[in-house]
Symmetry: C2
Subunit: 657 residues, 2 copies
């Protein structure tokens, strides 16, 4: 069923980022090699600096305090502390280690203290590994003798997946294979226990699938791909039991090749999708890309928030029914945004279609970026699109970001994406170079026919729409430069050395094939006009509302930008009025804020007054207090809300009638 | 702090229903004695017949299969089966037993088989009790030696509360005190362990508080009232720990006398409120009724669904923030409706204000009644106000009622309310008789100054608004007949012996004081015109929508009443059009259905098409397919949805523009 033939190993790839492709004929696009993309300034350079200076060193203290290291010490026989924390504690260490691997690898002079901490952690992990390769501190310390007895909930294979990904980062970026040896020994053990023994089983929380395909890409050892295929083939046969939320919670209700809807726990669904897409990229099995397209279509048409946030249910951190997208109850876990970015990247590699890069960008600038406070002091786990006056539980509402969590999946996940973000900017092949995301920096490739291509990108994107691409190195013969034109940009203009070029879209990309010369400068101008967004009529929870966007950002209105006499719970937007923009310095210097006309229609609570009125009996304006008054509404990027004084926030604004 | 002085016992009350008052000077109204109210026909007689014939006997089989009886047998040493089910399994037996007690008590010839089953269960419970009075099969069988070690989650005191309430029913209705002896022995043990020993503690799930006050009312033993006060005083000091959802989940975040908002798990909050109101009724402590009013005001103004359903969160079965009332994600647990009815009844007794009887009625006919299928074959646990086309998990959506649940709190709770429903109809005191809920039957009282009052009620309520009250027995001197005028009735007309009487409202009641004569007939005419209901502007999730009501019923539109070409997900209501009514026989004979003008605006999904459009770029009508077409909308009472072919349903209907 898997379509993976039992060959010998094939040649392994060169050093690359998180996703490398073995020149698979099933890919349409190919990631750059390590070091070929750099981000040298702007928003993301700033976020990455926070990651390097604050998040990665800070995580060491949090992992120490929470017991993650102690758990591994107990497993290694270097301590006797009882196991602490949730069953997947090891994965937090692995995600942090993955982030550190990418971060250390891209500096010529890596931070010696961070390197020392990483090396210590690697040594500890190696020491904790059992002789037969098994490695999971929860089972080793708290439940010896019960390995693989609860695949549905105990995350052993999930942790193994993150171990592999950390090992890949240290091997590729630091040329340090110590963790890779640990990971491969564990994987061989898992392979023997499951695939080779023919033991039924699949992980309750997917993650190992995508990691195994990548391990195959690194090592060329086909058994890793076969194990990924084994777990994917086993899924959907209800091996995991019904659990508390039903088999669909872990996508075990229907075989993978028949699953045409995204269902259940969002992070599980999306990591699985990344793995299934990876398997397609290596095997070219049509059934796999077919269900991946169907699931993506289902998700993007009716199960995604405007921000790219995913997961409408708090209860099971799950996708809701189609169009069930309440902004206040949006779960939108930061990890789901990261998993969506990972899946969209693989779909982009598999198809070359800009829609995937568009959703990746939307998710990056909104559902992902909101998960980290501007100063780096806190992470959000839940990211709703509305928080009301007088809300309770600000942490649960995403209104107060926390330095760490008991379930600490999100913080190190943010770190590993930030540390490896340059890998998601561009791709290259014999034909030329494709630019998917825009940031100041450099892009290069050795893969273009004829010789090395090098580009320098100058831009104030995402605040301004001008992206200047300067050719610094080029072969003599013609090659193709492809630039993504985001679907949100109503117009796009391109000049080369000041001369206008006709812009042809092809699946979201403008492509210019020519004999480029050093110092040639292409300028792409995207339309950064503020936009008024209205929802599909079946999204009931935001009926009669509109949202504001500019560039890749979704905007929100926050109490901090309005006087205390005005509650953002009571404002209305004038749909026809012009939207102005202006730069502000708080909370992020250079931020473009928007200003629009609205009205304030106060409608405070009257305690004890039933809030449903009979038409024709009670006044139509029941609940309102005083006449609506005109006002000016200020909106800031959603990603930056909750960084000033606390208060209500909303993305969707009711329209004035 | 409790205000309960340590007196000796006072005189116990006569046989009464679930709530008896010791002629407390703090009550405004007094429940009737046992047998003084009868329901002889109509909707509720039918539901109670289903309860007697199908639900109560059927529960014996379910309790047997689920292990409830086996657990008690193991505790009694009559079996050795390991404990099965959730920790509160005993409470399901007690709730069923309470229902059986009320049911057997009100028949002159009680069902001998049901009586035999009840007696068997009582013997089993008595056998399971430890020598020192302790009784909880979970701890006895599964965790011996660990009693009262996890008050936050293990429901020992909650189960004790339901044991007391079952005992009260058998004592009052059947004059059988065997279970009462068991309950009092357990209560004395609890009293010694906690109050007398001064051990800090309060139940994670309130319920015992209201039961203890009632046990005091039955026995006159003041220590039971003191124990209720003890647990209420202990609450709000975070003795229960933060738990997974924070201390507010079990109302332990703030002392009871400072808690001015309803928060956390809805059933916990409402059972606690019933107990606190009961304590006020006995002590008259102003601080208690003051916070109860504040909480009720908070709940009714912004945390209650139109149906009276409570609990906007699935995750923690909890109240949301004020105005956070998504119809699709409404949890609206059937038990929360029952608990709300219990609390509202006590608030009515404490205040005499019709608003509490209004909310009780709304909850009874909608949020409660929807919890039982028309044929009695299934119970709903969750009761949303909208279910979409293509929804997943019909059980979780309340779209498929189940014969029983693993967590089976709702089914026997439905049974005990149905079995005791006549107790919620009327009250009486020296001044006269007060009618709160209308059903065909008889009402009598010995309490009215001068002699016995007896009334016969003839009505086709809730389908028709005419309520005829015929005096069959009366003292010679004048007394006062009070009739609730529901807030939903725009007009109310009263005649006595055919002569119009002026209707004066006083806190929701029309009061007629006169020298009544046998065969006098009062006729109350309520306004049963269909009503169009609009929501408070801050209830974002139903912006631009209206709902239909008639009499005490909230209506909904269900796919079963519309052709397959029309999806109820796509209909719009014409707000200005007339609403017609007509009788239907399916699913309930005599049901009044409504018909209104609407339009069908098809807006099916386009897979992969982003459902948010830029105004001025994409067409304004994005997502819609074809022109809206006029149509006729049929609405049925929400309580009866989901009894025919499955499909989408909605209470709130978007208005056509």
């Amino acid at each position: 069923m898997s379509g993976v033939a039992s060959h010998e190993t094939v040649a392994a790839t060169d050093a690359c980022g998180p996703v490398a492709l073995l020149d698979s004929p099933h890919a349409r696009l190919y990631p750059l090699a390590l070091g070929e993309a750099e981000i040298t300034g702007g928003l993301w350079a700033g976020r990455r600096e926070v990651n390097r200076r604050r998040l990665l060193p800070g995580a060491v203290a949090h992992l120490g305090q929470a017991g993650n290291f102690d758990n591994l010490r107990s497993a290694a026989g270097q301590g006797s502390a009882p196991f602490r924390g949730p069953v997947f504690m090891d994965s937090d260490v692995y995600k942090w280690l993955e982030a550190v691997g990418w971060e250390l690898g891209r500096h010529r002079e890596p931070d010696p203290e961070l390197a020392r901490q990483a090396d210590q952690a690697i040594e500890l992990i190696a020491a904790a590994q059992e002789d037969d390769g098994y490695l999971n501190s929860y089972y080793q310390v708290a439940r010896p003798g019960e390995r693989f007895s609860n695949l549905a909930h105990d995350h052993e294979l999930y942790c193994a997946g993150h171990l592999i990904q950390a090992a890949l980062a240290h091997s590729r970026a630091r040329h340090d294979d110590r963790l890779l040896e640990v990971a491969e020994r564990f994987v061989e053990h898992i392979d023997e226990v499951f695939r080779i023994a023919g033991r039924p089983g699949t992980p309750g929380h997917p993650e190992i699938e995508t990691a195994l395909v990548e391990l195959y890409r690194l090592t060329g050892r086909r058994r890793h791909l076969q194990l990924a295929a084994y777990f994917i083939d086993q899924r959907g046969h209800r091996l995991l039991g019904p659990g508390h939320h039903g088999a669909s919670y872990y996508q075990d209700h229907v075989p993978v090749r028949e699953a045409r809807e995204v269902t259940g726990h969002a992070v599980r669904a999306l990591y699985l999708a990344a793995g299934v897409t990876d398997l397609y990229l290596e095997t070219g099995e049509d059934a796999l890309i077919d269900v991946m397209r169907a699931q993506w279509d289902d998700m993007s048409a009716g199960k995604a928030y405007l921000t790219g946030g995913l997961g409408a249910h708090h209860e099971d951190e799950a996708f809701g029914d189609r169009y069930e997208l309440p902004p206040d109850r949006c779960y939108g876990e930061t990890c789901a945004a990261i998993a969506s970015i990972m899946w969209n990247w693989r779909m982009l590699l598999a198809t070359g279609e800009g829609a995937f890069a568009d959703l990746l960008e939307r998710t990056l600038y909104n559902a992902f970026l909101v998960g980290l406070s501007c100063d780096g002091g806190g992470f959000a786990y839940v990211n709703p699109l509305q928080v009301r006056e007088g809300h309770r539980d600000p942490v649960e509402r995403g209104a107060r970001r926390q330095p760490w969590y008991w379930v600490a999946c999100c913080p190190p996940n943010v770190m590993r994406l930030l540390a490896s973000l340059e890998h998601y900017l561009a791709t290259a092949d014999e034909r030329g170079v494709q630019l998917h995301q825009y940031a100041p920096g450099t892009i290069a490739s050795e893969r273009v026919t004829g010789g090395r291509v090098a580009l320098k990108i100058d831009t104030e994107y995402p605040w301004q729409g001008r992206i200047a691409v300067r050719v610094s190195d080029t072969p003599a013969e013609p090659w193709e430069l492809a630039l993504r034109i985001p679907a949100w940009s109503a117009r796009a203009e391109i000049t080369v050395n000041g001369e206008p070029e006709p812009v042809e879209h092809r699946t979201g990309y403008a492509t210019l094939r020519r004999a480029w010369r050093p110092a040639d400068e292409l300028v792409l101008e995207l339309d950064m006009s503020p936009r008024l967004i209205t929802p599909h009529p079946r999204i009931d929870a935001i009926r009669g509302c509109a949202a504001l966007e500019r560039g890749p950002f979704v905007y929100c209105i926050e109490q901090a930008d309005h006087t205390s006499e005005i509650s953002v719970d009571d404002v209305r937007l004038e749909a026809e009025a012009a939207i102005d923009e202006h730069a502000i310095d708080d909370p992020v210097p250079g931020t473009m804020a928007l200003r629009a006309s609205g009205v304030h229609a106060p409608a405070h609570a009257e305690p004890g007054v039933w809030p449903y009125a009979t038409a024709g009996v009670q006044a139509n304006g029941h609940g309102t207090h005083g006449a609506p008054t005109p006002m000016s509404l200020t909106a800031i990027p959603y990603a930056f809300w909750g960084n000033r004084s606390p208060g209500p926030m909303r993305v969707w604004i009711p329209l004035a009638r």
